[in-house]
């Protein structure tokens, strides 16, 4: 079957088996490997992507169900060299360790911040409760999302403020 999606702003069309999972379409056919598979039962959220702006678990969706719709994966978060506030937040607050859950976590956080620009800890914990992290214990992920909310508000107030081009690492 033919499937046509807009992913990270780019139109992609491909012939796929009807049974092809969306995550396999994204990872194996489109070679966007930032989306991960952790459990196959939609329990862990490592495969979370945004479908028309809403988080979905791409391991339990078929690629053909995404036909004609808009997808965003972790690769689409940054705008060119400018990192999304959520990416900055995770770096600044040590919100990631092994990094495997991070793409899904960040996409859920982005969706949360779009509907709630200033979420409480409770609201953040509820929003990310479908995504498992084995490394961080969530404390720093919550801080990361709060950090992102503040940064997003700052950027909205001063939209031309320059932002570090990339995470260089090693700085204080």
């Amino acid at each position: 079957m033919q499937v046509s999606v807009t992913i990270n702003g780019q139109q992609q069309t491909a012939d796929v088996e009807p049974r092809l999972l969306l995550v396999d379409f994204i990872r194996d056919q489109l070679r966007l490997t930032g989306t991960h598979v952790g459990c196959d039962t939609s329990s862990c959220g490592a495969c979370t992507v945004l479908l028309d702006g809403e988080p979905v678990k791409s391991c339990t969706m078929l690629a053909v169900q995404a036909d004609g719709r808009e997808l965003m994966t972790v690769e689409g978060l940054a705008r060119g060299a400018e990192l999304h506030p959520v990416q900055v937040g995770f770096h600044e607050e040590h919100g990631l360790q092994c990094g495997f859950c991070t793409p899904g976590m960040m996409l859920v956080a982005k969706a949360l911040l779009e509907r709630n620009a200033d979420p409480t800890e409770e609201e953040i914990r509820w929003a990310i409760s479908g995504n498992i992290c084995r490394c961080t214990g969530y404390v720093n992920i919550v801080k990361s999302v709060r950090h992102a909310a503040r940064l997003q508000a700052e950027r909205a107030a001063a939209p031309v403020a320059p932002v570090a081009a990339a995470v260089s690492g090693g700085e204080s």
Binding site: T33, G34, S43, A46, H94, F100, G137, G170, S172
Partner: protein, 784 residues
């Protein structure tokens, strides 16, 4: 120039992680992201039965599925002498079953195909005719007369017993028990759990038919040791094997062993001349790869009338599954369990352990702990709390009374350990202060008067981490040293290559900070490489909190070696004598003339451009570090819970963690490790369980049954520190990655036991679920 003008990234600085960049933009390179030209995909057929004889395997239908290239059976593996492989504990394990299956989920056959969908389709079409045998699912069953013999293929194996192991002094312990005022006894099962890293295990095996070189991309915490094991298993020349562990999505011990899938995929690549990828799914991960714990323990504590410990006696039965494949030092059959006297000055102790085969998955790994330290710490901390409750003493006071005093280090324990350093009372007192212990006890008394259940749990753990030294600690004879190789380029930028391998712990930052501290090159200018055996010095790998104690020490030592050479170069450049030079981080200057100075970058450039006569060019070196002793991190965790009488639901209200891991290299990363361990400890205490029904069917085989803590139920953590450096580590560091998984389960469970103490309830086996709490309360007549 001033090297302090910008952040240097030395020891004690919470610099942000160097490795974050690629993960934040989806450019990590995990095993399943590896894709090679012509790569085939492998899927494994697993046994649905816990114990059954294989009558026949019919792969005809599977072979003709479009896209299928090969079906691999045990018979084919046997033709290449690969149907069985050695385990890390000196036993053998079936790669693909030829005679019997011995646990549910055991590898029976594999399909190699052009796509993973085709491979999975074909696996479903392989017909296996089984003759089902009775399943043995516990050590108790395993040791019953007439129990089914699981390892009937092993010559001389007449029953299901694997090993008997002892530590300590039986006679001295018996004598102490004979004069005890009171003996407190606890029998508990530390249940089977699973490390369940979010990324499952896998391999891309690429045996090049033209050169014979085997490049094995593998989710491995110990790539060098695995390379040697592969050379021994497969008979491949070791220089023709390159193991590459790419980015690893969490390990927690699960990625230490060699699994059958790795061997089959490698054999398939060798036979087919094409790369073969195998990535297990979550179900396969939970039912077949390295589980953890499964110790049935009875501990007895002998006390005098003042509550002082006189002796500790422990017996445990270990459920090792169908093959003895524990990943642990060869000499210690029950791991390092004999650290069981913990933080307490116990004059006598005796430990006996027996291991048993059962029809369950093999491969006892240390789920985020140093070889069974978790089980030991849990038992002693539970015993101490129960002893205090039985004697009507305060639980903190009981601990303070029995701690090894700070003045007694180095301390020789009754089971033979030499503890390097400790100050247990300071850590405990800080925890009591931070949790507001006295107020909590007052609040508890008030609540009890109102009929409400509230509990305060303490655990004052001591770990033993950082194996070796190599004389006593080895795996399959490989001594447990570790290594670091440091190369400084002419422009003063450096590459550090490690024998250990991160799974998320932040090695690329922490180890750069050690170089920054010791050699003065800013951490940002040090690239840390690891995980590729062709590109790094030999090491035993990352597990058992050994990276900082061992490879961290190696990094400090090699940095100092290079600093010595840089000193000679600086003397040459400054036309001064080496003795007249002073070092401050990043530069040498002439004593009394701080302006006459050369930076480490100047020295590096000179090493390639302007050498004194007779000096070898270059600024690089390697260190293989064999630690003189283990390190002994410690701390006190305090947990406050409220228990609902009507439902048995336990709500964790507060968690205070005081950790002492010696000198902290990157405090931010250290605290992150503690958060993670407290969460996994919470999971072990309350939710995570791999169990089996009477037929040996695994329950807990997916994330809908094996419950990992989510953000919703995971408590908030408050972390604090004391610092007692290790006297023998070059940096005073001790290792911290596992402290919280080791220490916290007892703190959580002790809090529940404290809440239930008025009803005389002394034990609930983990996971402490609401139904068990509810049943315990009901058994004591408590209703609403």
């Amino acid at each position: 120039m001033s090297v302090e003008a910008k952040p240097h990234g030395g020891i004690g600085e919470s610099i942000k992680r160097k490795e974050d960049g690629r993960f934040l933009v989806g450019r990590g390179n995990y095993l399943d992201d590896v894709s090679l030209p012509g790569m085939l995909h492998m899927a494994i057929l697993r046994s649905p039965h816990a114990h059954a004889r294989i009558r026949s395997i019919d792969a005809a239908a599977a072979s003709v599925v479009p896209g299928v290239v090969a079906v691999v059976t045990g018979e084919l593996m046997a033709q290449h002498n690969l149907a069985w492989m050695p385990t890390l504990s000196g036993d053998t394990q079936a790669v693909l079953a030829t005679d019997k299956v011995r646990f549910q989920g055991q590898e029976v056959a594999a399909v190699v195909a052009e796509t993973k969908y085709a491979a999975e389709d074909a696996v479903g079409l392989i017909q296996v005719d089984y003759d089902v045998l009775p399943a043995v699912t516990s050590p108790q069953q395993a040791s019953e007369p007439g129990a089914a013999l699981i390892r009937d293929e092993k010559e001389g194996q007449k029953d299901n017993h694997i090993y008997h192991w002892e530590a300590g002094d039986r006679a001295a312990t018996d004598t102490a028990f004979a004069r005890a005022h009171r003996v407190v006894r606890l029998t508990t099962h530390y249940p089977r759990s699973h490390p369940a890293p979010l990324e499952t295990c896998g391999i891309v095996a690429d045996v090049n038919p033209a050169t014979g070189k085997a490049t094995l991309y593998m989710t491995s915490q110990a790539p060098h040791a695995i390379r040697t094991v592969f050379a021994l298993v497969a008979g491949l020349p070791e220089h023709q094997i390159r193991v590459i562990a790419p980015d690893i999505g969490g390990g927690f011990g699960n990625k230490v062993p060699v699994y059958p899938g790795y061997v089959v995929a490698t054999a398939a690549s060798l036979l087919l001349g094409r790369p073969v990828k195998w990535v297990e799914d979550r179900n396969e991960n939970l039912i077949s790869t390295g589980f953890a714990r499964d110790f049935h323990m009875t501990g007895e504590l002998a006390l005098d009338s003042e509550g002082r410990m006189l002796a500790l006696r422990v017996h445990l039965d270990s459920d090792n599954g169908a093959f003895f494949a524990d990943a642990q030092p060869s000499k210690f059959k029950a791991g390092l369990f004999h650290i069981v006297t913990g933080s307490y000055d116990t004059p006598a102790a005796h430990v006996t352990a027996d291991g048993f085969y059962t029809n369950k998955a093999p491969g006892g790994v240390a789920y985020r702990c140093s070889f069974r330290v978790t089980e030991a710490s849990y038992l002693i901390e539970r015993l101490v709390t129960n002893a205090a409750i039985e004697m009507g003493m305060d639980q903190a006071e009981m601990r303070l009374k029995n701690f090894i005093p700070a003045s007694a280090f180095p301390y020789r324990s009754a089971t033979g350990w030499e503890y390097d350093s400790g100050d247990y009372a300071s850590a405990m007192n800080l925890a009591l202060e931070k949790v507001a212990y006295s107020e909590l006890r007052r609040e508890q008394a008030e609540r009890r008067a109102r009929g409400e259940l509230m509990g305060i749990g303490l655990a004052s753990f001591t770990e033993v981490v950082g194996a070796g030294h190599g004389k006593d600690f080895d795996i399959l004879g490989l001594r447990m040293f570790d290594s670091a190789e440091l190369r400084v380029h002419p422009t003063g930028k450096a590459v550090l290559k490690l024998g250990v391998k991160t799974q998320g712990q932040g090695h690329e930052t922490t180890f750069a900070q050690i170089v920054a501290e010791e050699l003065g090159i800013p951490a940002a200018d040090v690239e840390v490489q690891h995980g590729d055996t062709d590109n790094t010095p030999y090491g035993l790998g990352t597990y058992a909190s050994r990276s900082t104690p061992v490879a961290g020490a190696a990094t400090a030592v090699v940095s100092r070696k290079l600093r010595d050479k840089a000193r000679a170069l600086a003397a040459h450049l400054l036309e001064a004598s080496e003795e007249d030079l002073e070092w401050e981080r990043g530069r040498f200057f002439v004593r009394g003339s701080p302006d006459r100075a050369k930076t480490i970058q100047d020295c590096a450039f000179a090493a390639y451009t302007n050498l004194p006569d007779g000096m070898e060019a270059g600024l690089e070196g390697v260190s293989y570090y064999d630690p003189p002793n283990m390190t002994f991190p410690f701390g006190t965790y305090a947990v406050v819970v409220d228990v609902d009488k009507g439902t048995g639901v336990v709500k964790v209200r507060k968690v205070v963690a005081v950790d002492d891991c010696g000198v902290r290299i990157n405090p931010m990363i250290v605290e992150g490790q503690i958060h993670g361990g407290l969460t996994e400890g919470f999971g072990i205490a309350f939710t995570e369980l791999i169990t089996f029904d009477g037929d040996g069917n695994c329950i807990g085989s997916n994330f809908m049954d094996y419950l990992l803590p989510t953000s919703w139920e995971t408590p908030r953590f408050e972390c604090f520190e004391t610092v007692t450096p290790s006297p023998h580590h070059p940096l005073g560091a001790k290792g911290v990655g596992e402290s919280a998984t080791v220490g916290s389960p007892a703190a959580y469970v002790n809090a529940v036991m404290d809440a239930l103490a008025p009803y005389g309830i002394t034990n609930i086996d983990m996971p402490v679920t609401s139904d068990k709490v509810w049943a315990a309360l009901r058994s004591r007549g408590v209703t609403e």
